[in-house]
Amino acid sequence: MYPDDLRYSKEHEWVRLDGDEATVGITDYAQEELGDIVYVELPEEGEEFKLSDSFAIVESVKAASDVYSPLSGEVVAVNTELVDKPELVNEDPYGAGWMIRLRPGDASEMDDLLDAAGYEALISELRA
């Protein structure tokens, strides 16, 4: 549920740092809260986002929700498969449901994100 190799934001995004690129998506908890996702609106490659900027919108049957950037950086890739298969976010949030890859602008921001244990603790508080 909370892979050990990821870092997590309190707004329920995850980050996987791989060399100088960071893959970003939303967590299993987030996809479950949103319910069936039917549209994902993604940014373009080359767009730059600051920490906590909204970089995407995920829309479920019930509501539209912003997805906030857990790091500052420039978008180097977007998961265009989500345009036709938004359900991948529900089915595989940490894998095929990834949203964007960023080139982080400030590596120290990684230190402010939660590790798996920290995020798990946050979720158990929310569910209590």
Binding site: G35, D36, V38, S60, V61, K62
Partner: protein, 361 residues
């Protein structure tokens, strides 16, 4: 914090792992397995909803007919014993206080929206002082299960002492279901064939168990909303309200101007209607939501209900538009600051039945 009301099936929903929400003061299941899956189950197989939060008022007494004929917009003369009819309660100004289904298993029984039980009760009680009637609020005594979908009849029939193949749409009969006394009505709010089962509150858990045991899948209020929107059925508080007249909402078919006097009649007769409720079918990939502004060549309009349609796989909405806007026109919907194109279509978006469906056929 106010305490939420609970139906007799509350613990059943919690045990099933349903996501529970505050709905009109009730703690209700919005979904179990997933909204789209539950929606599809009702369109293709059979689902069961707990709608026990809805209100039931019975009306008896020598002037029950005259009272209802005055309080409701549809023609109560058509509601012979064993029938049901979709109807409205209007204010003097023609706004819709609530929509309801009037059943007549024996005495008249009016089933109203959960959010409006108190308002309706006060309104009807005030009107009733001029009539020789007994108005009784039986909302606590009844649980209501909606058993909906193309397989509902086949699944329910073995449980029921009535031959359900002979219970037509908009009919209601007393029956026994799994050994319990119930009222079986062939009505619903999904645009699908199905039944609404009125049970005593203390029998609700047993009857729910009997339905799920024969193959009804639990369905939450989330799918109830997408199903009714596809079926073009208005939701009170959004598509119809005290501020929206029944004629604007396209409900002239359930307002009988020829039946004699009723509350709201003179206002409805005078009103030309400055807007009309239409369907919007999104051309762009976007989902219109309640209160989104609609731009048309004839002036502005507003989305009253919008969602993603699991059946059509596009965004759909009901919207109040200027009367000059025609079916087939392209309009633009302001969705989170962006102009998105939509086609104006006739309601409903989905209908299993070919005829107009208000119980008067």
């Amino acid at each position: 914090m106010t305490t939420l009301s609970k139906t007799p099936l509350h613990q059943v929903h919690v045990d099933l792992g349903a996501r529970m929400v505050d709905f009109a003061g009730w703690h209700m299941p919005i979904q179990y397995a997933g909204l789209i899956e539950e929606h599809q189950v009702v369109r293709t197989e059979a689902g069961v909803f707990d709608v026990s939060h809805m209100g039931e008022f019975t009306v008896s007494g020598v002037e029950a007919f005259e009272f209802l004929q005055f309080a409701l917009t549809n023609n109560v003369a058509k509601v012979r014993k064993g029938r049901a009819q979709y109807t409205l309660m209007c204010s003097e100004s023609g706004g819709v206080i609530d929509d309801a289904v009037l059943y007549r298993p024996d005495d008249y029984m009016l089933v109203v929206n959960a959010a409006n039980v108190e308002t309706d009760w006060e309104w009807l009680s005030s009107l009733a002082t001029d009539f020789d009637v007994q108005l009784t609020n039986r909302s606590e005594e009844y649980a209501l299960l909606a058993a909906q979908g193309p397989k509902a009849e086949a699944l329910l029939n073995p449980l029921c002492d009535l031959d359900l193949t002979r219970l037509r749409r908009w009919r209601i009969r007393a029956a026994t279901l799994d050994g319990r006394g119930v009222l079986m009505a062939r009505t619903g709010y999904t645009g699908e064939d199905g039944f609404e089962v009125f049970t005593a509150s203390y029998d609700a858990v047993r009857v729910w168990g009997a339905l799920t045991a024969v193959g009804f899948t639990p369905v939450g209020l989330g799918a109830r909303n997408t199903l009714r929107l596809e079926a073009g059925m208005p939701l009170h508080g959004q598509d119809i309200s005290p501020e929206i007249s029944s004629l604007e909402a396209g409900l002239s078919g359930v307002v009988d101007m020829n039946k004699g006097d009723f509350v709201g009649r003179s206002a409805l007769q005078a009103a030309a209607g400055s807007r009309v409720l239409r369907g919007l079918w999104m051309v762009d990939r976007a989902i219109p939501r309640e209160h989104c502004l609609v731009r048309t060549e004839a002036g502005p309009g507003m989305v009253t209900s919008g969602t993603y349609s699991p059946t059509l796989k596009v965004g759909i909405a009901m919207a109040l538009l200027p009367p000059a806007v025609e079916i087939g026109d392209l309009v633009s919907v302001d969705i989170r600051g962006r102009q998105r194109e939509a086609l104006v279509v006739e309601l409903p978006f989905y209908n299993r039945f070919s005829k107009p469906d208000a119980g008067d056929s």
